[in-house]
Each structure stands twice: as structure tokens, then as C-alpha cells.
Symmetry: C2
Subunit: 641 residues, 2 copies
């Protein structure tokens, strides 16, 4: 449910989610309200006057009784519960001039366009259940229990070859199970690669359990592991869970994990940690759905190449050393229980194949999810995390690369950088005249630091207001208390110490700016190098697909303004969210799509940017906001692309 908020005196109407925070909603719509502390009503600057409608105040009102009765509220502690008319007090506007409302920077992706990108898929999973009422044995018909079962399956599926069975655990239980179940059993079959290939018997259950068939989709990230429990009879997500990858204790990024794996028992430790994280996710989704982990018949996962190696207990040592060779790229089918995952002994765990050491199964799953490999349109697929992985192509060809962009967008290399969690500055506007910031934090609490989306907003605002120049250097001519030389060189004070959680000034420094420019420069040079490798330019792109958690929160206009994304028609951009998890879910549910996953991977040609002579040239040219070649950024005042 949404409500409308009309802001006066500028008479700008925006849509806001029910229960949404007014400050966050205003900031997202580009409406400037002074807000120095991000939330909790501490600074008291974000006063608004409620002219009609109702809000719910949180953290207490943060105001005197008189003001409250007059309809004054703090935007940061007010949640929308009805349509509103809100006046931003005149006194709050800088030097008496009317507030300049900016255009709404992002176009939220409608459900229709997401569907056009991802498409629909069948609920026809690679595993199926068949209930069988077997005839009990007699002296005249005393074939083995397994033969009887196979005969029953063959009678039920007369067009299929006799199924396989490849492990003895099944046989240990089978004779007892058949007799206890009165010869009424349900078999779980894993379908073969094609109709002529035999199925494999995964498990046999007593009675008719065909109404209960579950699969787990699981994205195994360096930082988080996300799982979805899918009812494979309906295709519905029946529970979701997220858990921090407990490997984080052994290093925050994949390089530190590789280094840890080289220690004595390091590999074993890392494997144990990711498996216990997956088990946490399994326990959580099973508790939510009130099923047992042994009811999960099939697990589909995707992760980057290092995560896949660590999950299987394979050393990632040579991934880190030139020429960056993984042990494998197509992962062997493994029984989940053999790895220590809570699952029925015969349940298989699939990992999406990876392309190279730094273009992993998560990227293949994402490309697979949004069907780039099936479309004639040319897509640029971008997943920005510690590294940026990029894919360009269509159904005929796919090239991909990983950029060592560095962890700037995850808070790394930024003095007050942090991950996107409570207290992170996620949005910011700087008033063009007063140069005062409007701070919005995740959770509307006091600010603790700056996350990726906040960083992009701040840099775009500093650039737009002229506080920094295109090289990312502070204007030395400004006489403003927030722009000052600090211990690390020039900096802009986002939050004064009295409004910040750590109790110190939260600033963005020129060093931070340098790191950000290098990160976005590497990514942009990556796009260019990939396109060039196939003789194309940005104008040839039909779609730009932003994957990953960060991609889902990016402010498109500002990301283009600083040169992180190419300056193309905004209608060509799509937000996909956790594309890796989506790919797993699709493969889990639709057998035809499941079978495609190896083919998608083999379509993808890896290009090593570190080995590419053009990349460094592009990189140097991109160390500018947005770029040295303004022809690439017509929105920023350059000539039309």
C-alpha cells in the first residue's frame, strides 16, 4: 500500500510506502529537508508542518508539546499512515529562496518489466515423486526388493528407461521400509539429462508423500548466505532466510579467505564454517515452514568460484596466483550429507558452474535468471560487490570479466565506510546554496558511517554543488565550516560529532574520493573493454541489468553522474536484486532451465582485464567524474552520445 505526500510550498507530490519514513521518502524523491543527524530526532532540524493527514511518530516526537499540537513533526521520526500534505517551513529554507526540488532520480522497475526480463518458468522440477503400491513378494515372484521397486517405477513411467541407484544407504533401509510401509512407498527421482537418460532414485519414503516435495535455493555469498525453501509442487517460495557467512571471522573478502585456507587446517575450517552457515539457513527455513531438513529433496546453489571451492573443500590456492587458475569450473555432483549439510543422505547439492577464477557461479546463475543467453537484445550485466563482475552479450555470444574494483562500495578503503546496515548513511542531499547536507540513515538512527549507496549520493552531491571538481579534489576557494583540511587532507563534514553515533565528525576525504574514483573507473573501463572486445559501444546496449544487493539500492542518476554506470536511456536499466538466488530458484523449479545451466556457462568467454592492453588506457581515462570523455556522458553536459 502506498500513500501520497504533497510537499508545500513547492507543491510536489510523491508516493510513499505505508509506514515509510517521511525523511527517507523525501530524500528518495529528491526533496531537500535539512537533516543533520539521519534520524532519532536528535538534531531537531527536519521540522515539517502537517497540513492534512496523519503520521505515526517513532523514537518519541522529539518536540515540545506546543509545537506538536501546532502540527509540527520531525520528518525523521514520522511514518506515513495516510495521504499527507506537508509544508516544509519557510524558515527552514536557505536564505529565503524557494527550495529547488530535484527530479525524481530513479525509475522504480515495474513488475511488468521484471517479468519481461526474467520471464516465466515451469513448475516442473528436476526431482519428482511417484507413489507406488507394490505387490508383495511370493515364492513365485521373489525378485529382490530393489528389482520390485524398479519394476514398479518402470510400470509407472513406461516411456522411461529403468532408473539408476548409486548408493547403498538407500538399500540399507529399503527392505525394512517396504515391509513397514505395507509396500506403499513414494520414490523421489532425479531426472536424467534428457528423456532417454535414466532417472536416479534419490530416496524412498513410506506411504504416499507426493504432496510434500521441497527444494532449497541457496546463494552462497562471501558475506551472506541466502536461502529460499521452494515447494516444488507449486513453485512457491514458502520460507526465506539469510545468515552471515561465518567465514567472515577468517577474513572479509575472498583474497583473505584464500590466504586463510593455506593455513594448517584452514581449508577444513573454512569449509566447516560455510557448511554450518548453510545448515543455519536450512534450519531456519525448515522451522518457518514446519518441515524437517530431511524433507528437502534437492539443493541448488550458486556462489563465486572461491566459495564453491571452499564449500567442496578444494584448495583455492592457485586462484590468487597468476595466471589465476581454479581447480575446476564445473563442479561435481555431490551428496549434500557427505559435505556435512543437513539433508537426506542421498540428496544432491548442485553448484552453478563458474567461468573463471573471478567470474563465478553466482554470475552464471544471474545471467541464466535474466535469460541474456536467450535474448537477441544485447545486455550489460553488472554485479558490483568487492569485485565487479561484468557480462556483455546476447543469445549468440557472451563475454565476461571481473574488475578488481576494490571494496569501496562495501565500505572498504573509505574512512567512515561501512556495510549497508543500521546507521549507515544511505542517502544524502546537499543544498546547492547552503551546502548543508540532508542525511538519511538506514533505520533512521544516528549515523555511524557511510555505505555504498550513501557514498555514491554524497560524491554526486559534492560534484553537483561544486564542492569537489571533476578530479575529485575539494575546491580550495570555499569558505564553509564543513569543507576543511583534516588529518587525511581536505574533507567534507557530513555529520558533526554531536549528531553522530561514534561521537566524532563523520567526513568524506579526498583519499576516500580517490578510492571511489579508482573503483568506478575500473568498472567503467571494464564495460568499455568488454564492449570493445566484441566491436561494440555503449549505444549498442539494449539493456543494462544491475544485479546484487547493492545494485538493487543504487541511485541510477547519481551513479551515472559520477560515471559508475554508462549514461544511457534510463528505460534500459533493470534492477534484478539477488540474481544468483533467483537463478537457483528457477533451476530448482524448472527442469528445462536446470539443464541449461552448463550451456549458459559454456557460452560465456572470460576476458582477463589484467592481461588486456586496452583496459589500462580506459581505466586512466575513467579516473575523472564522470569521465575525461564527456561525450560518453551527455546528461552531465557532454554532447549527445
Amino acid at each position: 500500500m502506498t500513500h501520497q505526500i504533497r510537499f508545500l510550498p513547492d507543491n510536489i507530490t510523491i508516493e510513499a510506502e505505508d509506514q515509510g519514513n517521511i525523511l527517507t521518502a523525501a530524500a528518495a524523491a529528491g526533496i531537500y529537508i535539512p537533516a543533520a543527524c539521519g534520524g532519532e530526532g536528535v538534531c531537531g532540524k527536519c521540522r515539517i508542518h502537517l497540513e492534512s493527514g496523519e503520521v505515526k511518530t517513532t523514537h518519541g516526537a522529539g518536540l515540545g508539546e506546543t509545537e506538536y499540537r501546532q502540527g509540527i513533526r520531525l520528518a525523521c521520526t514520522s511514518r506515513v499512515i495516510s495521504d499527507l500534505v506537508v509544508r516544509i517551513p519557510e524558515t527552514l529554507q536557505a536564505d529565503g529562496r524557494a527550495l529547488t526540488c530535484r527530479p525524481k532520480p530513479t525509475r522504480p522497475l515495474s513488475a511488468r518489466t521484471l517479468a519481461s526480463l526474467v520471464g516465466s518458468w515451469e513448475t516442473s522440477p528436476p526431482v519428482r515423486k511417484i507413489a507406488l503400491q507394490l505387490t508383495p513378494p511370493t515364492l513365485a515372484d521373489n525378485v529382490s526388493d530393489m528389482q520390485r521397486l524398479l519394476r514398479g517405477i518402470t510400470q509407472a513411467l513406461p516411456d522411461r528407461p529403468e532408473p539408476q541407484y548409486d548408493h547403498t544407504e538407500l538399500l540399507k533401509e529399503l527392505p525394512f521400509l517396504l515391509r513397514e510401509a505395507g509396500w506403499l512407498v513414494t520414490v523421489i527421482l532425479l531426472q536424467g539429462k534428457h528423456a532417454e537418460e535414466p532417472c536416479t532414485i534419490i530416496a524412498v519414503e513410506a506411504g504416499d508423500t507426493t504432496d510434500r516435495l521441497y527444494g532449497l535455493a541457496c546463494d552462497i555469498g562471501t558475506t551472506t548466505v541466502c536461502g529460499q525453501l521452494i515447494d516444488l509442487n507449486s513453485g512457491a517460495i514458502i520460507a526465506e532466510s539469510m545468515s552471515y557467512n561465518s567465514q567472515v571471522a577468517c577474513g572479509t573478502d575472498i583474497i583473505s579467505r584464500i590466504i586463510y585456507s593455506l593455513r594448517n587446517r584452514g581449508l577444513k575450517t573454512l569449509q566447516g564454517k560455510v557448511i554450518s552457515t548453510i545448515n543455519n539457513v536450512i534450519e531456519d527455513v525448515c522451522r518457518k515452514a514446519t518441515i524437517s531438513p530431511s524433507d528437502i529433496s534437492y539443493i541448488m546453489t550458486a556462489g563465486n568460484t572461491v566459495m564453491a571451492h571452499l564449500l567442496l573443500g578444494i584448495s583455492p590456492k592457485f586462484i590468487r596466483e597468476a595466471p589465476y587458475v581454479p581447480a575446476m569450473s564445473i563442479f561435481p555432483l555431490t551428496r549434500a550429507a557427505e559435505l556435512g549439510i543437513m539433508a537426506h543422505p542421498s540428496v544432491r547439492i548442485y553448484l552453478y558452474p563458474c567461468v573463471s577464477s573471478y567470474v563465478g557461479g553466482d554470475i552464471v546463475a544471474g545471467v541464466h535468471a535474466c535469460r541474456i543467453h536467450e535474448s537477441k537484445e544485447i545486455s550489460l550485466f553488472i554485479d558490483i560487490g568487492t569485485n565487479g563482475e561484468i557480462v556483455v552479450g546476447n543469445r549468440d555470444w557472451l563475454v565476461c570479466a571481473a574488475c578488481s574494483a576494490g571494496p569501496a562500495f562495501e565500505g572498504g578503503g573509505i574512512r567512515f565506510g561501512m556495510r549497508a546496515s543500521t546507521g549507515a548513511i544511505e542517502n544524502c542531499h546537499i543544498h546547492p546554496e547552503s551546502l548543508e547536507p540532508m542525511i538519511v540513515t538506514i533505520g533512521n538512527t544516528l549515523p555511524r558511517g557511510i555505505c555504498g549507496s550513501g557514498l555514491i549520493a554524497i560524491v554526486a552531491e559534492l560534484l553537483a554543488t561544486g564542492i569537489i571538481d571533476q578530479r575529485g579534489k575539494f575546491s580550495r576557494n570555499l569558505s564553509h565550516p564543513r569543507v576543511r583540511p583534516g588529518v587525511d587532507g581536505w574533507e567534507y563534514v557530513l555529520v558533526w560529532s554531536h549528531d553522530s553515533l561514534p561521537g566524532e565528525d563523520i567526513t568524506l576525504t579526498e583519499i576516500d574520493l580517490d578510492n571511489l574514483i579508482r573503483a568506478k573507473g575500473a568498472l567503467f573501463a571494464g564495460y568499455q573493454t568488454l564492449l570493445e572486445s566484441v566491436g561494440l559501444g555503449f549505444s549498442d546496449l539494449d539493456r543494462v541489468i544491475l544485479a546484487g544487493n547493492f545494485g538493487a539500492h543504487i541511485d541510477l542518476e547519481r551513479a551515472i553522474a559520477i560515471g559508475l554506470l554508462p549514461d544511457l536511456d534510463r528505460n534500459r536499466f533493470y534492477y534484478l536484486g539477488n540474481a544468483s538466488l533467483l537463478g537457483c530458484r528457477i533451476s530448482l523449479t524448472d527442469h528445462r532451465r536446470f539443464m541449461e545451466r552448463i550451456q549458459v556457462r559454456s557460452l560465456m568467454t572470460n576476458i582477463e582485464l589484467s592481461d588486456n592492453p586496452g583496459f589500462m588506457d580506459h581505466y586512466v581515462a575513467a579516473l575523472f567524474l564522470p569521465h575525461t570523455d564527456m561525450g560518453l556522458f551527455p546528461s552531465a553536459g557532454g554532447p549527445a552520445a
Copy 2:
């Protein structure tokens, strides 16, 4: 090497093995020499006079110096080392009449006929090694290590699909192994079921090790486990070993093993014992051939259905309960190391499939070895042990059955019965006039008991001399010190207490005779029932194949004389020895034969004798020596068959 021995005064010449015992050779040729103690020169009755040639005396001569100088020797302590002329002293003949020499009872199987039965096979094993010099990775070619390996294999085998690999152990070592080996490695491939099916990578070894490729053939018997180490490059047997199945401590026959398996942890104990026995065999053959157990690339085994279940840790509970259903009959491909067998982690262990609860993989292997399934001739295949397993058929059809013959031929149910080991009476002649026995023991030591072949000899002799009648009852009219009523009824004293190892009279009783008659009757009724089931009679049989250790030592004439074997042209009989082990060896060596094994099994139709109305009639009719229908036994005086 053999020597000729001419026996005087009857002027009968026989062939004897170099170093062969004279008493044993004479008995085998049907020449009667009084010998009461079986060996060691104790009774001193088996005096012979050496007229020319030389012998080697063992256990000391057992004679005075004068006699020795005169050329007198004891047959039981003399080994043949040259051609001999030997006179059996007149005094040793009963009541002054010349010794009646019997016809040579058995026709030893010539190498030619064995070859015609078994045929030749290719040395083209299901596993193969390929040495690969891989190109080291570069930035321009940094595919994963596994992809590089697969590419190398595909280049070496351009007509084959890309191999599979299905376990992660291989990948744990691969990156290090490739680099340490300087990218020169040898892959061990398991061939697919047909040329279009991908191979499976079993292992990767550093360097070029193609000259070392070994497989283990292993017959897993209830009593003994026999192994042969095969050089798969040449097909040669390079070491052999036999070990008693240490499960014997948990019961001597399969029924007592099944009962033991139902105990708490009984199944686990039995599995552990057979695996440790196999490991003993592996250690022994590897020590003999100076290789490591991890050099064995492939293991082919056969055993009865209960042994197969116990090896895989599957409960055989329902095998013992009507309607006698095994858990499985085609055994899943298993990694030997998973079971605890000393082998490279990826080495597979194959078990010959079984037909039913009591017709096991050992029988399928035997039928496979002698190619009954390929011949147009109709064969009767007999394996006599605790049970007797019988197969009848040719390339178009095969029927099989198990007879609960009881363990009489393994010493069970016989008062002085014992297995065929040192001290067992293995041969016997009874002089037709004196009714005195000539005793020959295994190892030519003092007698301890009677083994299966001894039992057949004794019963045939008792029948031939009229000491017993065709019902197996002792003649009550004889006045002979050896024929007497004992504690268990009437009996014949084979060895007096002073000549026996246990120090008591060794006898054969009427109860023993009853047990033997029931055992041979069940087998004979089995042959008849199987033949009848396909509308045939004995005269339709082209070949009778005797498998198993007992079958290899059986005295054909006497076995026919008591009705254990049908009375057919002796040229139709073949001794195959350990057919199960031979089948394993052939499958191990020849990929084409290996692929046939499931097909052989599926050709075999099991017939439950306990459920067959004709069987009991045939059984009752066979409780006679040799049979109530003497028309079936023309050699014994019946009409021609």
C-alpha cells in the same frame, strides 16, 4: 613334469607328478595298497619294493636299515623323483590272489578342453591409463585445472565424449599434483558402457605411469576369500592369495551369518570382518608383487548373495525368510575405500550381480567364465558347497536353482566330517575281498576326519564291495571287525584308534550315509527339476561343468556311482575349479566381457525348488544309491540311458 610308475605284478603303468606321493598317486589311479593310517609311516602297512628308479623319503623312512637297503619303502612316505618300477609285495595281497587293479576312475581335463570351454579373452580392460603432457596455464589460457585435464584427454581420445568425474577427492589433489608433476600426468579412465558413453576419471598420477596398471579379481566365499592380482597391461596373474573369511568366527554357513547379522551391531561386525579379510588378500598380493594397494585401479568381485549383502553392509534378513527376497540383485557401483577396503579413494569395486537369494554372483561369474550364455550347446553347471547351485541352459535360455543340499560335502552332518585340509581322508579304496581300506589323507599325515571327496570315495567303495546296500544300510550278515553296531547305529571303521590323530576309531555311520544320500538326492532332484522345467532330459546335455573347489577334486566315477552326478559320457564332464574367480579375472581383463555380466545374469531364470511340485517326487526317488530309477544309471548296471 611327470614320471611313470609301473606297478608289479599287475604291470599297470600310471603317470605321477614329480614330487608326488606314491600312495596318493596309486589311490588316484585306482591301485590298491593296504594303507591304514593315511601317511607318516605309522602303520607301516604300505610297503612297496622299489625295482628301479629313485624316490625321496619323507617323515623318515619308517623302516629298519635292512629293509631299506633291500629296496623296501613305505608308499605313504615316498615321493616320486624319477620313473619307477614298483612291486607291491605278494604278502600284501589278500588271501594270495592277485590284486585287482581298477580302471582309472577320472579323466583329467586337458588344457585344450579347458580352453574350448572358457575360450580366450582380450587384454582390453575396462580401465585404461593415458599419459598426458599438458600445456601449463597462461593468462591467455587460464581455464581451470580440471578443464585443462579434460581437454588433454579429449585431445588424446578425439573419438570419445568428454570424460566425467564424480568426486571431489580427485580435485583436492589435482592442482598440486599437476604443478608438482610439471604438467606430465597419467589419468586412469574407467570406460563407459559403450563407446558413446563418457569415460570416468578414476585417478590422476604424477608422471607417466602407463606401464603400471593393476586390477584385483576376488572371489568372496563364505569360507575363503581368493584374490588374484592381474597386470592389466599383459593380462597375466602376477600374484595370488587366499585367506579364510574371518566371518567364520560368526558362523560357518550363510544361515548362521544371517542370524548373526540380526544381532546388535552384528551386520557391522560381519561387514568389517569380510573387509579385513579382503584387505589381508590385498596386502598379501601387493607384497608378493611389490606394489602398493593404491596401485590397484579396479576391483572385480563375486560372492554369493549373502556375502554381497554383508560386504555392502546391507541386511540379509529377508533372504532367510520365505519368500526369500534379497534387498537387491544388481549391486550398486561402490568406491572400495568407502567400504574400508585398502584402495585409492576413487577405485570402484564391482560385484557380480546375483540372480536370487540363493543363486549368487559367484554362480553368475562362473556361468559367464565358461560362456554357457554364448554356446549353442546345452550345459549343466554345478557348484557344490553348503548349497548346491545348478544352472542349465545355453545361449538362448538359462534356468537356475539352489538346492538346500546341506553341508555334507563340506563335512557337515557327518560324524567325522571335516573340511578339505591336512589330515582329511580324501581318497579311499576298500579291497573287495579283505574289505580292508586303503586310506589316503591330505598332506599324507595321520587321519583326522573325512572331507567331501573322501566321503564320496568311501560311500562308493562301501557300495561296490556290498558292505552297504542301495538304501545306504550296512549288510547285517557280514562278520568283519570293521563293520559293527556303534553308538549311532551301524558303522564301518575306516581307521582304528591307534592309527588316527584323534586317538579314536574314525568311522562312517548309517546316519552319515543318510545325510549323504539326502544331499546327493537333493542335487540330483535339482538337475531333474531344472531339466524338466524346460522339457529336457539328461541325454540332452552336451556338457556337465563342475565348478568350485570341491568340484575340482571330485572323483567322477564314484560321484556317478553314488548318484551325485548323472551317468553320462565322461567326455562331457569338465572341471572348472574356482569359476567365480575366473569370471572376475576375465571381466577384469576384457572390457567386452565385463559389459556382458549384467546380461548373463538377466538371462538366468531362477526356479524355487521348494515351491516346485515335481522336486519332492524327484527327491524321494533319488534317496537311493545311485537311484531308484536304474535306467538313469546304465554304468551301474541299469539299461542304457
